[in-house]
Symmetry: C2
Subunit: 195 residues, 2 copies
Amino acid sequence: MARMSGADRRQQIVAAAIEVILQRGLAQAATRDVTRAIGVGSGLLHHYFPSWAELRAEAVRQAAWQEIDAVKAAISGLPARAAMQRLADWMIDDEDMRHWRLWLNAQDEAHRDPLLAEVMNAAMLAWRGLIAELLREAGEETGGGPADADAAAWRLAALMDGLAGAMLVRDSVMTPQIARNLIGMQLRLECDSSA
Amino acid sequence: MARMSGADRRQQIVAAAIEVILQRGLAQAATRDVTRAIGVGSGLLHHYFPSWAELRAEAVRQAAWQEIDAVKAAISGLPARAAMQRLADWMIDDEDMRHWRLWLNAQDEAHRDPLLAEVMNAAMLAWRGLIAELLREAGEETGGGPADADAAAWRLAALMDGLAGAMLVRDSVMTPQIARNLIGMQLRLECDSSA
DNA sequence: CATCAAGTTGAGCATATGCTCAATTGAGCG
DNA sequence: CGCTCAATTGAGCATATGCTCAACTTGATG
């Protein structure tokens, strides 16, 4: 393979690892899949990442934060209530459930891999923080809003995780449309609840 | 190893497989772990189960239905509202999150393994059915109750899955106590919502 | 051009996995 | 006692995995 600067190569490896992990799952993805995908020798991968566990954690970290940043960009400027609906729609627009597959796979694996746990705890915190902030803003806009925005954010985040998990099972009866409706109803339940 | 009747041996293998899967995860558990655990030759396992995929699916099936049956037994006789709270408490009483670990691991793996998908779709259907039935009964008791019991059951089941997933991540800030409170609040949201 | 450090290679080791198959064991039965 | 057949064995094959290491290539630098 052509020569590259260290930083570029490193980034290319991470990007390839994300694709491989999406296709084979965290537990089955292998270093050879990554090196074959970009046509480099096996030694090169270990030159940039001392172990597969570290590359894997870095891949999940980048994928998770890319998604969080993308959602932030998508809702930027919108009024809070509309932003919240847009955020909820994100999981439906996601082609082939790419992001959710990686997210839930990593969450599951994070109880066997300390590196992944660190990554996921940070990402989950940011994700819930984003939701909680939107709920608070929505409350100020309309006067109402959930009594406890943090608790509501926990419920909404967990609900989305759970629905996405159900959607990912092969031949599941859960569809994006149903999930969308269920989340919308949850939003109404949370926001119309009396303090 | 001592001789056994076919049925007993088969059951012993499944039970051992469940333990192995709990310890290593579905993706990492291996036939050798099972045969070593009960001290038999590798050929014996394949005498009862043509492939690891089938043993694995059978193990998950038994574990899932054992849990559903156990919950049913635990809430049997209770008034619906109390039964619902008892069901929600189940996830906290579960030592070391044994059941949730297997449940979520299987759900995650079920999008790569058709056999597991079949098993999980059936188990998830029964689980939601149980919750929906309780919600309907609770509605009749108190007069109120959720407008759409099936939708409420979906939300409660997904919420519990999501919270359990968060709880399973190492060093997670989600604790059984918090989860218990969040589910309790969700129950109130669902049941006090005006039709 | 020569030098040198960074990028890159890939055969190879140790280990692990699902599964096969010919052979062995043993309980029940006439 | 011998016979039969289900239960059981375990060495072994083909394949896969993370990682090492000595050697090689190449671009920049003086």
